[in-house]
Symmetry: C2
């Protein structure tokens, strides 16, 4: 059964999320399949950022109180919490994803002091592993970063593991862990569970409370559409709040920051995990992205994302099956986030050729073409057009030009 | 000899920096003496932030390359380096001041591994002490945070001190250390020297190279006019680059971040001290502030700042000597940053009354009224008007109203 462009147009007309697209700035003619790397700009982000600039210009220092900048990291955090099944007061925004990984892992290790193993995945997003390495080396207490393959993860959670640290949806393949099951296994073995939700928050349903997760962190600039380098977020389950001690113990996590006391006294609750003064302009852009995401139903989002993946895979099979693309994402939709990946020996020049034709996906070493589905602003007809362009590039071998082979630094 | 408003007008006319004021957005009628807490907004910041928003909207992920967001933290860092006497490739921007303090202190302690004492000042800005506390507790290696008074600092640098960690200009009193002398003493005793330049960068001449400082950090949102919560900066002397190991070892400090290697390999040089993805929108605003500061001569800035302090002190003596204000900043201008502080038993309500009359200084516990001088945009006539308003408030006792006594959270 052939999928036609008209079929895709019909899917767009029936899409319950179709009106969200008008809430974004999107360059005409571009088919954007990389919102899982940097989300598109909500129109409201432009407006709100312009507003916060005027606040700064007009109200100067008093903006901290008049415009509640002082609470912005808690306010945005609370909103993100609603997207990931956090309870009230369990999530804050601020700092980078890497820094939040460090904060959460340090807190988790300190809460499980008799054990020395951090278990993660070999193909985890590298900065998570790097941050764990740095923490472990610095602690100098003989901790070990142990890496396992996804299929062996449950078995690898042995009773010497202090913290299981996993990215829920793999950045490269889109493979998604069963959060509830892995968390339960970790707890059964006496380990704490730290989830990285970089490719989950705003992309797939997440319920940290139901899963019983201990800590989670995630990224603001992917599916949350918070802007380049947007602040990240951190979740800690309420049951750990009293005992957890921030290693990055800054004045924004102090119980009375403006008393200027010489000694650190942590704030109650999640507030203690804040560190320094948050970047208010970037945080304001993030709030606009999160607000927009909160307007959509996560079930609608997931439904559309799964349908988009189904359509895209069908189109690749239909239009490009003879060109050597190998599916690199799990076949079972329940085990996938909101992306599809294909391996190809000429992955790099093919992706460069696609980008030159304004089909924006991305490439991940060694040979992965990655296509992300962002249901808030991506249409089905765009998928049809993207695959038609891919087919053309492959048929004409137009990917095989020197400029497409050149290796530039990419993100 | 009485200072008149006409005298102040004459000083403004003769001010070589007077044209810089037009480069800022400043609310009419407000006399802003708190640019040492949050600098005013350069007009260029508004423009540049609007531009970076358009870049995001239009170029999406390719903005990282097309607009060199990927290097922005290094580029802004290099520019800040020129303001503080850093050599090429010794400074990066990013993260908060608190996080940078942690990074620098951790690196310094690791470079001086046989010693266990961090020496600082009791009245240091608290977050520096808090971050040191957290680091020390976390290391669990018996380090000690030892605090001394400024007058005793040189003597307190004993041969068990690993790192001397001082804020160059005290946030409360404006007292400034002799950077060269203290650094030399630290080195003579085998300690490393870490300077916090939060109230120095863009405010007073700083020459880290001449002083031979080992590490320095500082704040982007004070005299650098980078916007609320602007990213901070970190300096490390080149001689430490090869040996220093970042504890916060994130992918932006990796030598090949987009190779997605599973193990951390630090970048060469200062680049290894970057951690996660920097907040590009906030960093763009900071760049505008730094660019503007680079247009001014630091000698002109210091000259005007000293003159403004002289005029302000003279006006307080002339107009308000009978009201119980006690100078809380050093009398010797060479020992002061770009602010003057007064102690008053009713400091809080007096400052609230000043702010209600649009004279914006700030209050620091227990009883300090703080007035900052930002020569790029502050005029002498404003100083005259500010003190006239203070005199009026004191003469009429209009500070003694319930609304001025109320304690709000302030920054």
């Amino acid at each position: 059964l052939t999928l036609t462009r008209a079929d895709c147009e019909a899917l767009d007309r029936a899409d319950p999320l179709r009106l969200f697209r008008d809430r974004f700035v999107l360059p005409p003619g571009t088919i954007y399949l990389d919102g899982n790397s940097l989300g598109a700009m909500p129109i409201a982000a432009r407006t709100r950022v312009a507003e916060v600039m005027e606040q700064w210009g007009t109200d100067l220092i008093s903006g901290w109180n008049v415009h509640s900048w002082i609470d912005l990291h808690e306010r945005v955090g609370a909103k993100i919490g609603r997207l990931i099944g956090a309870g009230e007061g369990e999530t804050i925004a601020g700092d980078s994803t890497s820094i939040n990984l460090f904060k959460a892992l340090a807190a988790a290790l300190q809460l499980n002091p008799k054990r020395r193993v951090v278990l993660s995945e070999r193909d985890n997003f590298p900065t998570d592993l790097y941050m764990a390495e740095g923490l472990i080396r610095h602690l100098g207490q003989g901790h070990e970063l142990r890496l396992a393959a996804p299929d062996e993860m449950a078995d690898a959670i042995t009773d010497d593991v202090a913290v299981v640290m996993l990215t829920h949806v793999n950045y490269r393949t889109g493979r998604m862990y069963e959060m509830d099951a892995i968390t339960a296994t970790a707890h059964a073995k006496g380990a704490l569970m730290l989830w990285d939700l970089a490719h989950s928050a705003g992309a797939v349903p997440v319920d940290l409370s139901r899963a019983g997760a201990d800590f989670a962190i995630g990224c603001g600039y992917k599916f949350l559409n918070g802007g380049p380098g947007a602040p990240a977020f951190l979740y800690a389950a309420r049951r750990h709040h009293a005992a957890m001690q921030p290693v990055l113990s800054g004045w924004f996590g102090h119980c009375a920051p403006f008393a200027f006391e010489p000694s650190y006294r942590p704030a109650d609750g999640i507030a203690k995990m804040a560190v320094g003064t948050p970047p208010i302009i970037s945080l304001t852009a993030l709030e606009a992205g999160v607000d927009l995401m909160l307007e959509a139903s996560i079930d609608d989002l997931r439904g559309k994302s799964l349908k988009q993946a189904e359509v895209f895979a069908a189109l690749i099979a239909q239009e490009a099956s003879s060109f050597g693309f190998h599916a690199a994402s799990p076949g079972d939709p329940a085990q996938r986030g909101s992306q599809l990946c294909y391996e190809h020996e000429n992955g790099w020049p093919i992706m460069r050729a696609l980008i030159a034709r304004k089909v924006i996906g991305d490439f991940r070493s060694p040979g992965i073409l990655r296509f992300g589905f962002t249901p808030l602003y991506l249409g089905f007809t765009e998928l049809w057009d993207a695959v038609a362009i891919l087919r053309d590039i492959m048929t004409t071998r137009s990917w095989d030009k020197p400029e497409h082979h050149a290796r530039a630094r990419v993100t």
